[in-house]
């Protein structure tokens, strides 16, 4: 019997992510054993997903025979799976600047101060500002590096990640053996339905955020992982999402959006997550066809109606998963007949190779102005402010379209824009960003460990609601200040700061002592020490009232010798500065 879907009216199409559409995620909730329940080790969970996996309620789907083949109509268009190699521009250490890209402004124009809606608690230093936005957190070394070569040259380097030596981080990642492996390899390396590969991915993601030198690349990997969200860990993508991460997201994060979209549409993890792997002309499943439009490309206001959602799903019939977990195209499942989605129409007869018709459709979506605007808006929200400035969104939309959906030029335009320069303090750190930035600034370093390394951070950040990849609906983690303001988030953040400063979690990482993290001889008086610590961590001095609060805590006066504080209270002083509202400004 068919899976029941709630009737979809056009009104539903205008809803922002209406709820009832997330597909076969029963294993998620099956795995959703609560904290109040007994603890459940991963073996029973994977077994639960095993029991949930059999198709019990759909009518028999006509499956392609083993001999079904893809009919590939030879075309002149390049294979969409070919990916351009990342550019190997040598890093520029001299003063030459590219003529085309606008230089990063060194001082924010005073005139835009009136547009600030959050009080700016982060000071005015543009280098700290750039690093807070374009990396997972500034460190003293990074600040010095950017000052040395200039922000534009640094950004150029970051936009050519292949040329950045990342061997230290790569060496660390070898402890997560399934990273970069294919589905057959993962199946051979772990038990069936094991969550090990997903845990490897989550922890590897944390390791890269902490220690990769390709920071902007990692930030963009996170951005696109959210844009093309596939909830992890769940039983249904145990052997698939780990592949999606490198094959779809990492391969294309700084490439062309059109390539990223094509790769995502052929990603078994995505096809499973949004039910396209079971969608056929006989049992059409609209989930991916809809989310492709609503979340991945043009957006809910682009003017498509339900008939177009159906045609979108029809275009994607046949995109499914093969026996070895690879992308497969089942021609027998394909819908044949004319289709229209927004401005894309196609006769879609069986003279055409259905796989290729879908590719043309995806390419159309990738180049659609509404897609450009949505990507531009999301990037501006991510990197500039919660309510992106219209002027910047327009600029970025144009750059996206004129560069044939390439992302790097959009980022260059963004970071070089006056709107970016004027947005100091207008974003706030979400739990993941807070914890990683804390660990980075404290000088947390890679340490010996094993596959369980960084599990502590995984749980810590997960407890605050932002474990990497764990957001459940397909739209990705929210990216505004308000969405993350909560009591439990605040307490979680404060407690995370103490834990990191005091080096509670030693699984694969070691945090420097506060005295070592200070990176200089401690100032002689308590007043000067308070300033030294806040400059070290925040790049600014705190207000008079805040300084007084910290001195009262120690307890000390401006001129008290700092010796006792350095000996007994430096960790708590660090923690309090990190707990200040100034730290949360990103």
């Amino acid at each position: 019997m068919p899976t029941t879907h709630p009737p979809q009216s056009p009104a539903d199409d205008s809803a922002p992510v209406p709820a009832a559409r997330y597909g076969r995620r029963h294993v998620l909730a099956a795995a959703g054993v609560s904290a109040v329940a007994a603890s459940v080790a991963s073996a029973p969970l994977s077994a639960l997903s095993a029991s949930a996996a059999p198709v019990t309620r759909r009518k028999a789907v006509r499956r392609a025979t083993a001999t079904a083949t893809r009919r590939r109509t030879p075309t002149a268009s390049p294979s969409p799976t070919a990916t351009p190699k990342p550019s190997l521009t040598a890093p520029r250490l001299t003063a030459g600047r590219p003529v085309v890209a606008p230089p990063i402004l060194l001082t924010p124009p005073a005139v835009v101060a009136a547009n600030l809606t959050l009080p700016n608690l982060a000071g005015t230093d543009p280098v700290w500002h750039l690093l807070r936005r374009a990396t997972f957190g500034p460190t003293p070394q990074l600040v010095a590096d950017v000052r040395a070569i200039g922000p534009t040259a640094w950004l150029d380097q970051q936009l050519a990640p292949a040329a950045i030596d990342d061997s230290a981080c790569d060496a660390y990642l070898t402890r997560y053996p399934t990273l970069g492996k294919t589905t057959p390899q993962i199946r051979a390396m772990t038990a069936q339905y094991s969550w090990d590969a997903m845990y490897d991915l989550i922890r590897g993601t944390l390791a890269r955020a902490l220690w990769s030198k390709r920071q902007l690349f990692e930030v963009m990997v996170e951005f696109w992982s959210n844009h093309f969200n596939i909830a992890t860990p769940t039983g249904e993508v145990w052997d698939l999402k780990p592949v999606d991460d490198w094959k779809v997201i990492r391969r294309n994060a700084l490439g062309r959006f059109a390539d990223l979209l094509q790769a995502s549409a052929k990603s078994p993890a995505m096809l499973r997550f949004l039910d396209n792997d079971d969608s056929s002309v006989d049992t059409l499943n609209e989930n991916y066809g809809r989310e492709l439009l609503e979340l991945h490309t043009v957006g809910v206001d682009a003017g498509y109606d339900h008939a177009m959602v159906v045609d979108s799903a029809r275009l994607l019939t046949g995109y499914t998963i093969g026996r070895r977990g690879e992308f497969a195209y089942y021609n027998d499942w394909r819908y044949i007949g004319p289709v229209t989605v927004l401005g894309f129409t196609h006769p879609n007869t069986d003279d055409f190779d259905g796989l290729h018709v879908a590719e043309k459709y995806l390419d159309y979506l990738a180049h659609h102005p509404a897609t450009a605007r949505r990507i531009a808006t999301k990037l501006a929200r991510r990197f500039v402010r919660d309510d992106p400035p219209a002027s910047l969104v327009s600029t970025l939309t144009s750059v996206y379209l004129s560069s044939d959906t390439a992302i790097a030029p959009v980022l260059r335009a963004l970071f070089g824009s006056p709107e970016f320069a004027a947005s100091i303090g207008q974003k706030t750190r979400r739990p993941l960003e807070d914890v990683i930035a804390t660990a980075r600034t404290l000088g947390t370093a890679p340490a010996a460990g094993d596959r369980s390394s960084l599990g502590s951070l995984q749980w810590l950040i997960g407890g605050m609601g932002q474990a990497p990849l764990a957001w459940v609906p397909p739209d990705g983690y929210p990216d505004t200040t308000e969405a993350w303001m909560s009591t439990v988030g605040t307490l979680g953040r404060w407690n995370a700061h103490i834990g990191l400063v005091q080096n509670w979690w030693k699984d694969g990482m070691s945090t420097a002592t506060p005295a070592a993290a200070l990176g200089a001889t401690p100032a002689a008086t308590c007043g000067a020490l308070v300033d030294q610590v806040s400059l070290r961590l925040l790049g600014i001095r705190l207000s008079a009232a805040q300084r007084a609060a910290l001195l009262a805590f120690l307890p000390a006066t401006e001129t008290t010798s700092s010796a006792d504080t350095v000996r007994w209270r430096l960790d708590l002083l660090f923690a309090l500065v990190l707990d200040s509202p100034n730290w949360i400004a990103r």
């Binding site: 709630p6 539903d12 709820a19 997330y22 995620r25 029963h26 294993v27 998620l28 909730a29 099956a30 795995a31 959703g32 054993v33 609560s34 904290a35 109040v36 329940a37 007994a38 603890s39 459940v40 080790a41 029973p44 969970l45 639960l48 095993a50 029991s51 949930a52 025979t65 959050l118 339905y193 909830a231 860990p233 995984q458 749980w459 407890g463 609601g465 764990a470 957001w471 929210p478 200040t481 303001m485 909560s486 009591t487 439990v488 605040t490 307490l491 404060w494 407690n495 705190l542 009232a545 805040q546 609060a549 910290l550 009262a552 805590f553 708590l572 309090l576 200040s580 509202p581 400004a585």
Partner: protein, 433 residues
Amino acid sequence: MSPSPAPAAPAQRTGDHDGCGCPGTGPSRRSVLAALGLTGAAGAASSALSSRVAFAATPGPTDTLVVLSMRGGWDGLSIVAPVGDPDYARIRPNIGLPSSLALPAGGVFGLHPALAPLQPLWAAGSFGAVHAVGQPSGSRSHFRDSEELERAAPGSSLRTGWLDRVLAVRGSGTAFQAVELGSEMVPSSLAGPMPAMAMSSVDEFQLSVWDGVRPQFRTALAALHAGVTHPVALQASTTLAAVDTTAAMKAAGYTPANGAVYPTSDLGKGLRDLARLIKANIGLQIACLDYGDWDMHHDIGKPGDARGWMHRQLADVAGSLAAFAADLGSALGRVSVVTLSEFGRRAAENGSGGADHGHGQAVLLLGGGIVGGRVHGAWPGLAAGALDQGDVAGVTDYRSVLGELLQKRCGLGALDAVFPGFTPAPLGLATQI
């Protein structure tokens, strides 16, 4: 053309199905929570602009509403078994509860023997049930149905949870107005702008500095945020007020009243903390707890075997709720507990000693204002024609159950702000407060 063989069936479970009581695996629990992503953001829950710290009293008497989410789709046909239904034994020859083992519940029903600790409350009329409860768009998908259940606004574009809307209707409240216990993430039923809290336990909800320095640390935190108009500063005040409260509660310690002994399970601990919070009179209006896993596709347990999966878990539920009721004593008169699962399970058993995803479920009710000692709602029966695609029909909309509690016990008037477009059917399951 013969179809190719279906993809290889997943391996049958060979491992144990440890369901409850295993200590010391905090990380595993949390991984699961992360997977479930109870609204992910430890709220999309509170708006800095609307968070309230004021201790304003809510007008009129109102029960504390306790929503016990049974995750995984719990099997109402085992818990409140229709032992007198002629089709029951026929379609559940192996896992069906024999009437000789069931505790009498009136009508065709019998309670699972594991509910024995609650039997006195059934007899006294503060423990009851509703059967054949469903939600309109049952998809039999855990995630989809959980989301819809907690959003409780089918056919609308609302993205808030129904409990958030209840808080919004109420208006004023305290920092502790809504608490998720036993987890650090707020459930999606509380998603929305109204402030809500989540804590693993009362004692653990604390600043992680050593006791000797905590007061000064707390003072410094407050002073660092004083006069700052950033949203984070508002959250800081609320959070500090909350940790002050829990610190005082922890210092005071707690001994359950009336000799109540809670199981040492997570549910037992959660309900014990809930009793503490209720007795502390800090404005708790809504409490949420989660309990699972009930997704018993297989090996639900031989009826009468106390080591079976269903029996063990249900015994934990019964023992914990019985202790909770005893601990509260007369305060139970101002508490309403309701269980909710995303769906029930199929009427017929499957080939693995369990049952697959279904639709209509059984809801348990506990509280002084509950009309207990009976199973409410119309029972459609288990004849083939009465089933909904092989499942118990969802004759009673779960919003009727919740709506009646909200109106009769929680002082709400009209319900359209909470359940837009829905008119509840009266069930007579609660008395007017």
